[in-house]
């Protein structure tokens, strides 16, 4: 935090009571335009020890219990000994990489294997630093027309790009999110229905992240369950 240049600019006096044992309290630097909106005065609090910890222990035990039962009922897969001489068809990466493997099926390795994951990780890292979604302002709150045009153009271009590479798997979620996004532009904060208001209130970052989440899920599910020999389509119950 101390490295944050913003902090040096703002002249805030931190007041800390020295006798912490008597009245332990939270310290927070509240910056301009970056309010965590903490309102402590009406917040009920609990002691970490033992109350919060007991909750935590319960969570730990529930997780452990579930894992124990899964482990009792389902055996971890083990196939024949590794044999470099014969390649299974299809050879699949661990499930969490199957989205990437699915992309590799469409795009050259540099794109799917390096560019996309690199961009994703980079994007995730910079999220908090680029004023993304900090305000949580609705996408259509300002410049509705201009934004609508830009977003429509980007969407169309992106869909064309996906079509060019024949990536139907990724195209469907993109269209879904895109349609929802453009549709939400028609609403306002005074729309009659809750859903409409909810959709309207969402900022751009929400839409992008949701698109990413759905793409990730769809690609992983497709790679895990719907890909067979030669990375061809297959139904999960066929083998």
């Amino acid at each position: 935090m101390t490295e944050d240049p913003k902090m040096q600019e703002t002249k805030i006096q931190a007041e800390v009571q020295s006798d912490v044992r008597k009245n332990p309290r939270r310290i927070a630097f509240i910056l301009r335009r970056a309010s965590p909106h903490v309102k402590t005065q009406d917040d009920a609090r609990v002691m970490t020890y033992p109350t919060a910890l007991s909750r935590f222990v319960i969570a730990l035990e529930v997780a452990f219990l579930l894992l124990v039962w899964i482990s009792l009922l389902v055996n971890a897969p083990l196939e024949g000994i590794a044999d470099p001489m014969h390649t299974p068809n299809p050879a699949k990466a661990p499930w969490y990489f199957l989205g990437l493997q699915e992309l590799l099926h469409y795009f050259p390795p540099v794109v799917a294997g390096v560019l996309v994951p690199g961009l994703v990780v980079g994007a995730l890292i910079v999220i908090p630093y680029f004023n993304i979604n900090i305000e949580g302002e609705s996408l259509w709150a300002k410049d509705r027309k201009r934004r609508l045009m830009i977003i429509s153009a980007v969407l169309v271009l992106f869909c064309l790009f996906l079509l060019a590479y024949d990536v139907i798997v990724a195209l469907v979620p993109t269209l879904l999110i895109g349609v929802l996004m453009l549709w939400s532009a028609r609403f306002s904060s005074e729309s009659p229905r809750l859903v409409q208001r909810w959709l309207f209130s969402k900022p751009l970052s929400f839409w992008i992240m949701s698109w990413f989440l759905i793409e990730l899920t769809v690609l992983t599910v497709v790679g895990t369950f719907f890909r067979g020999p030669g990375w061809g389509w297959i139904l999960p119950w066929q083998s």
Binding site: E61, L78, G80, H86, N89
Partner: protein
């Protein structure tokens, strides 16, 4: 910041609900955790060990119960990569608990190896380290090789025992089928010691085929060889009419003139085939012992004769009469590699025999074959087909080179990964069934496959499968000292002038010498020590029979006295055994007294007459050679040594080793040497 002085309500203890949740979940968690060791305790193998102890207890086998060692039992042999835990459930393999007849407690039947010498899975397959029934016996995700069905079990032996093995008839038969059906012309089958199986079906060259037969016959033959001769080993390529016509056209077109084609055989006027001539011809066929190698179907439909040469039932429909005469005159001028001896028949005999054979005709056989004249197109297409079908892998053909790496290498087929196997629909997914199906009907895997259909019975398919399942990568990695190579045939060939003569007579087609040759007739490796020079000359002049009950006999080759002398001299001088013990045979020990004692031994103590005939009047033994004139035939030294230890000289002999004492052997020799042909009398 000013809010800090107004803290909200503070809860310092967990609520009752939280505590109850905590207690309940902790309890459930503890119980769940206890299930894992319980699961372990109630495992299958422990259950079987308990029931074994229960059975043993019921039968009051107190010592058995007390001496039983519970827990996982395992055979671990590092150098073979064996970790077998089968005995954790199969606790009674040694049979300590008598009479337990249900698995897993059945006693292991007798076998040549100790239980812990090789473990279980080297022979039985299955997953040795596994300790549950399903994992150990069946195909699972982690283990492809299920327990081998009993009918393929001998494949286990074949991993180390590379040659014929007593007690493994199916393996032996399967291996010999690989050679005799010609599988190894196309497929490489190498054994762990480096030996590569060689074909021994001797397919004829087709370089001069036009002289031998007609295009129509070739057409009919390649369409279905078994239609011409049920015993034919040539497989059915399931050719369509057009392909067969093209191939036959090409084969005729590529045929060149054989060296023998110039020699014109005189067609001796056999006159009109009189009844007398046909009897004479049949007698000649019999006296030449053609049936030792060739079979003919009799009226009842049974094949009579050997299988070293082709079946002759319909030979008249096949061969060109001129060619047949030239062939009978000297086979090797047409086919230098033939196994057929050069008989040295005179023109009359050739005419008689060819007439006899040409009469073996099936007029219906080619009645429906009408081929359009061969066009250049057809010939070119035929050539392409011949190359594609791989005809040249077996047959020598002008202008077509033998294909290289034509068919898959079968060296490690017995452990092929199922992932590399393409199953036909509806097949069981395991290796033995796949191999058997592939042998039984290769085209069931797809019409485009090249492998032809062989005429094999169900048991032959199983035998071939057994032999192929022995070709495992596991065996390839075994320590060298475990590998027991088969008796390899040498490439011995007699040398010099006599050698050339013996080659011409194809002695090695029937006789083995120094580890090379056939097994139809006695091994001649030590023949020079065994027989007397004069007897051998007489025998070659007119090979009369030695064994009354033998059907296959030595044919008469019509040798000239010079040739007989050459061969006899060579055999008696070259084929001498260095192992003959000549010490105790002082000529004057073989006196009449000794002969008298020997006769006693012959008839009373050893009952030799039950197998041999020393005297035609009284003796009836039909197993060994007749000994009525053995005094003329065998040398006394050989006789003595032979009697003492027959299997030392010919390991395959039927004559038992009686462990005779020296004086008994001497007396018997003395007696046998008195058995001589009566002057001027019959045999």
């Amino acid at each position: 910041m000013d809010d800090n002085n107004k803290p909200g309500p503070l809860r310092s203890r967990p609520t009752m609900r939280e505590l109850v949740y905590f207690c309940v979940i902790s309890l459930v968690l503890l119980v769940s955790l206890a299930i894992a060791p319980a699961k372990n305790y109630f495992s299958e193998w422990r259950h079987y060990q308990k029931s074994y102890l229960a059975i043993a207890g019921q039968r009051q086998s107190g010592t058995l119960v007390r001496s039983f060692q519970g827990g996982l039992h395992q055979t671990w042999i590092a150098k073979l990569g064996v970790v077998d835990r089968c005995e954790s459930c199969h606790v009674n393999l040694s049979g300590a608990l008598v009479g337990a007849s249900e698995q897993p407690f059945r006693k292991h039947p007798p076998m040549p190896h100790k239980l812990d010498e090789f473990g279980c899975v080297i022979c039985h397959r299955g997953q040795g380290p596994a300790t549950s029934v399903k994992e150990a016996h069946y195909t699972t995700e982690a283990w492809e090789q299920p327990l081998l069905p009993a009918r393929f079990l001998e494949s286990g032996c074949g991993q180390c025992h590379l040659g014929p093995l007593q007690g493994a008839p199916r393996l032996n038969e399967g291996r010999s089928l690989l050679s005799s059906m010609g599988c190894v012309h196309c497929h490489t089958v190498a054994q762990p010691d480096g030996n590569v199986l060689k074909p021994d079906d001797n397919p004829p060259p087709l370089t001069h085929i036009a002289e031998k037969t007609s295009r129509e016959w070739i057409y009919a033959w390649i369409k279905n060889p078994q239609l011409y001769a049920g015993s034919a080993t040539m497989p059915n390529f399931q050719l369509n009419d057009q392909d067969a016509a093209d191939i036959s056209a090409f084969l005729i077109a590529q045929s060149s003139a054989s060296p023998a084609s110039g020699t014109e055989t005189k067609t001796v006027a056999t006159a009109a085939p009189s009844a007398n001539a046909s009897i004479e011809a049949a007698t000649l066929y019999g006296a030449s012992f053609c049936s030792s190698c060739h079979a003919i179907q009799n009226e009842a439909g049974n094949l009579v004769g050997g299988n070293l040469g082709p079946e002759l039932t319909r030979v008249g429909s096949k061969v060109n009469p001129d060619w047949l005469r030239r062939w009978l005159d000297n086979p090797s001028s047409y086919h230098p590699g033939t196994r057929m001896p050069h008989y040295r028949m005179d023109q009359k005999q050739v005419a008689l025999l060819s007439g006899f054979l040409l009469a073996k005709k099936d007029n219906d056989y080619l009645a429906n074959v009408h081929l359009a004249p061969a066009s250049a197109d057809s010939i070119a297409r035929g050539k392409k087909l011949v190359a594609e079908t791989g005809c040249a892998a077996c047959h020598q053909i002008n202008g077509v080179n033998p294909p290289q790496n034509f068919a898959p290498d079968l060296t490690l087929v017995g452990s092929r990964a199922l992932a590399q196997v393409v199953f036909a629909p509806g097949m069981k997914h395991n290796l033995p069934d796949y191999i058997a199906a592939k042998i039984h009907d290769p085209r069931s895997f797809g019409p485009g496959l090249k492998m032809p259909k062989f005429a094999l019975g169900d048991s032959q398919v199983d035998e071939l499968t057994t032999a192929l399942l022995a070709q495992t990568d596991r065996a390839a990695g075994f320590p060298k000292e475990l590998i027991i190579s088969g008796g390899r045939t040498t490439n011995y060939h007699p040398g010099g002038k006599a050698g050339r003569l013996m080659e011409d007579l194809r002695c090695l087609s029937c006789h083995a010498i120094n580890g090379n040759g056939g097994d139809m007739a006695p091994d001649l490796t030590w023949e020079g020590s065994a027989v007397q020079h004069t007897w051998l000359e007489d025998f070659l002049k007119n090979p009369n029979t030695l064994r009354p009950a033998l059907i296959r006999r030595m044919p008469k080759f019509n040798l000239t006295p010079d040739e007989i002398k050459t061969v006899t001299d060579y055999i008696t001088s070259a084929y001498q055994s260095p192992a003959l013990d000549l010490q105790p045979l002082d000529p004057h020990v073989l006196n009449a007294d000794a002969a008298g004692r020997g006769k006693q031994l012959f008839y009373s103590k050893y009952g030799c007459q039950s197998c041999h005939i020393a005297d035609y009047k009284n003796d009836k033994g039909y197993v060994g050679p007749a000994l009525t004139s053995v005094g003329n035939r065998l040398t006394p030294e050989w006789t003595y040594n032979w009697l003492k230890e027959p299997n030392a000289f010919r390991p395959a002999t039927l004559m038992p080793n009686f462990s005779l004492k020296d004086d008994e052997a001497r007396d018997l020799t003395a007696f046998l040497m008195t058995l001589k042909a009566k002057q001027g009398g019959g045999k």
